[in-house]
Amino acid sequence: MPLSDKLKEKINKTVSKSETKQSALIPVFHEVQSEHGWLSQESMEEVAELLGIPPASVQNVATFYTMFFTKPVGKHVLWLCRTLSCALRGAEQVEHYLSEKLQIHTGETTPDGKITLLEAECLASCGTAPVMLIDDELHENLTKKRIDELIEKLRRE
């Protein structure tokens, strides 16, 4: 999908507010990803041109950061924390439960393209473990019941 005129305008505004063109790159990636859901080769090339940065270096930065998707993902992304404090509160069991419920492994997307299940590192919510981030919302103290409700809601949409 090419960048819309509206998005390009937004990008140009971001660039004009940044100290250097390069320093607009990460904010611009956020803008593109929030519209498109991911960063396609095509959109990265357009960003490279708008910012006057070599396409290879744009791609290099995109792949460094785990939250930028350089391959398509589901409509919703589940980031389940796997790190120590969550693991001590059963994150492995939560992962099994989610993976069975969604019928996918971690790292995969449901066949209907709705949900991608990913592994996150410590989400700064260790005191309310186990936790997961669904898109822009954090969910703490996960139980089976809570997970059922959350997934049901995503499926109904």
Binding site: E19, T20, K21, Q22, S23, A24, L25, I26, P27, F29, H30, N60, V61, F64, Y65, T66, M67, F68, W79, R82, T83, L84, S85, A87, L88, R89, G90, A91, E92, Q93, V94, H96, Y97, A120, E121, C122, L123, A124, S125, C126, G127, T128, A129, P130, L133, D135, D136, E137, L138, N141, T143, K144, K145
Partner: protein, 432 residues
Amino acid sequence: MPEMRIIRTYVDRANSESIRSYIASGGYTALPTALKMDPLRIIDEVKKSGLRGRGGAGFPTGIKWSFIQRDSKKPIYLCCNADESEPGSFKDREIIERDPHQMLEGIIIACYAINSHKCYIYIRGEMPKGARVLETSIYEAYEKGFLGENILGSGFNIDVVLFKGAGAYICGEETGLLESIEGKNGEPRPKPPFPAQIGLFGCPTIVNNVETLACVPHIINRGAEWFSSIGTPKNTGTKIYGLSGSINRPGLYELPLGIPLRELIHEYGEGVPKGRHVKAISPGGSSAPVLTAEEIDIPMDFDSLAKAGSMLGTAGVTVIDDSTCMVRVAENLAHFYRDESCGQCVQCREGTWWLEKMLAKIEEGRGRMEYIDTLLDACFQMKGTTICALADGCAMPIESIVKKFRHEFEEHIRLGKCPFGDRHMGTWDESN
């Protein structure tokens, strides 16, 4: 016993994040006081308070600020490190989400002190709520004239920019953070030069943690003497401790620096679940060497933990009980650091990968006795030899686990399987 709340005083109150609530509870009164002070006096006051950085290293804040050449021809930057990604640490997120103006007021005072007109707040990408709250708070502060041009008629200008990360622990390392703001991979820079000389865009820069900056308005309001009377002589003020893992009352507890670890775990945290016993404690975020149950009588401050061969770090305490396999704990940590290594240094890139692989082998019962010393060797090789401290942060806890729980490693190897059985790590209270 109640906490000693200074920073957390209002976090439980409804709408505590709004500027109205902050002002109603006496917020933004340190700012006019500070703006009437000579900036050098502010730095002096912070020095006298004894405030040490809350981001992990405990470096004295006032001394750090004094490294800035205030009459620099180049712009001076302040960066607020809101990347909080250290496993076991969840204190900054609460400040950001529940009392952000406290941190903003600290930022404004810090900028005035170091003669900076621009601050970047670097928030990790996995804190979307925090980012939404901060966007509003920054807007509110501009509206009230606490940010922007000619702040409260002082003639001083400050702009604050919120910068969202995108999932990389290494961007919490101060020079990784600067690289990321510059639009590059968050690969730490060799030091020296330190950011105070050559930082963001090649300009003098101070990087401070969220909790550090949140202390500043209180120091201005109540004085260095008051602040330094809390805690111990060289570890002043309160600290927001985090309790997580196997503990009855996980959460945040603000207490004077130097609180005994035993009290924190058994009184505030109400101990480990019934029928279990403390086995190990990670006292300051996952990069700190672990303590055994016998080492629990230690004051939780920078110097006492350093003396015991560990560190206070972010004061995120993770409790591990006797139902947990320490080889799996080590493997879980190695996985984290392998995942998060930026890959610039061979010792770190390969060391983290190799440690995880060897630990997995031992856990699965495919280890050999000689692996144990090889693990220790590998940890030794990773320490003090890399561009940043991530490699040390991986080697230190793993080395401590191998040394202090060597018998568990030997048992895995002798039995050819995990003595804890192949059930899952930890327990999920799935019906809460």
